[in-house]
Symmetry: C2
Subunit: 247 residues, 2 copies
């Protein structure tokens, strides 16, 4: 019996931003399971394997299916994929929780990837570089009051702020809320970057300011990076100085 | 004239955790420049290229050398390497700042990588998964008062906290300071992970609690991840629940 589960972070999406360990794990796996959009990203390379798509908001079911598949036929190697890094709002947590509850005794290997903050930052220039906070605006699993509190404290601490899941079809007003909270602690001139589909063919990138962020096109495929008090824009890039001295 | 600079995040260090884009850039580069420890990591694969090592605390000089090398002999392709992701406490910022000041007009491509938070988290289980803050304890470029303030606000906001550069040979007492600040807002039983040389051959991993963090062996190659109020330890892994419901 050798049941093995790889929890794989694909990175932003393009094959070139996947790590060798990610590619080796996909190659070794007999079955690859993931949300349909992520299966779509890798289908062209792994069409010869069993690919199982699973709907959004069914993350626990997806983990149960992953574990049951790994346990089937005397043991299989299965990859459970997320985009970005599997441990940042990804599947690593819920898979470990499910494995605990199901008393799964096979092997689990979590494979890190390039998270969207890093991918988006690389396109915007160097907006992070210093201390930062990452906050998801999705209130599916987190009370709104906690999201508001974290936005306030991150703004007060002058952290660079990365915002994941800024909008969904039903949830459109939280970016405006975030702007209002952050503006209490940070200048309206603070540079802000919005990257949609980072490092993919249809990538778009916009640089604006906190004052104009509400007017921008933002959707569920966007990541937002808000500079700290030292960040500036130069030649179409956002730079947050680390503090090096130039003569 | 075609001067090109790749600012490359190598990931945690092992070749298997590098992305294809990182490997392609290293292959294409005629010269690879970096802090000696990072050149050491890739030397075995790129010994046939010109490898230039540069000391720590000479980051601006390293960027000037990178730019001058790219501009030499009618234009060269040069890789400036960091470990982890080049945009998170990496070389992307200082390179762009230097390029601005030197009015460098060649091409610059920033290649993201797996940052230490993600690499360390994958070894510890799933300690991040929810909103998080990353703080460097190095006061070389940041006033201590700002570091203290950010620790306090991140603790108050119940962010998972990633700590980079927790100690150096000269700076040994800041982890204790961080523990004292965070304990004002978080239980002493909060699980904490310490990963040294994540994803390398000599990787070590320790799980303790906030109450026992001061007693642990920590050095400049360690990354610390402090759970939030919901994090727990199970079967030798740290799990921070995202909030999924199990029947």
């Amino acid at each position: 019996m050798s049941a093995k589960i790889y929890v794989v972070g694909l990175g932003p999406g393009d094959r070139k931003d996947m790590t060798l360990r990610c590619l080796d794990a996909l190659e070794e796996s007999e079955v690859i399971i993931g949300y349909s959009k992520y299966i779509e990203l890798i289908k062209q390379y792994y069409g010869h394997k069993k690919l199982v798509t699973s709907p959004m908001k069914k993350e626990v079911d997806r983990c149960i299916e992953t574990i049951n598949t790994a346990l089937s036929d005397g043991g299989k190697t299965v990859a459970l994929i997320s985009s970005g890094d599997s441990g940042i709002y990804g599947m690593a947590g819920v898979l470990l929780e499910t494995a605990d509850k199901m008393k799964f005794e096979g092997e689990i290997e979590i494979i890190p990837g390039v998270t969207s903050l890093c991918a988006s930052a690389s396109i915007l220039g160097a907006p992070v570089v210093h201390d930062f906070a990452v906050i998801s605006l999705s209130d599916l699993l987190t009370p709104l009051s906690i999201i508001e509190k974290r936005l306030r404290l991150a703004a007060e601490g002058d952290f660079v702020i990365g915002i994941y899941n800024p909008k969904s079809k039903k949830r459109t007003e939280y970016v405006d809320m975030a702007v209002d909270i952050i503006l209490k602690h940070r200048s309206g001139k603070t540079p802000v970057g919005i990257v949609r589909n980072a490092c993919r063919e249809d990538e778009t990138c916009t640089i604006c300011t906190l004052d104009t962020l509400k007017e921008q096109h933002i959707d569920m495929f966007s990541t937002i990076i808000i500079g700290n008090s030292q960040s500036y824009e130069s030649l179409g890039k956002i730079i947050t100085p680390r503090g090096y001295k130039f003569d």
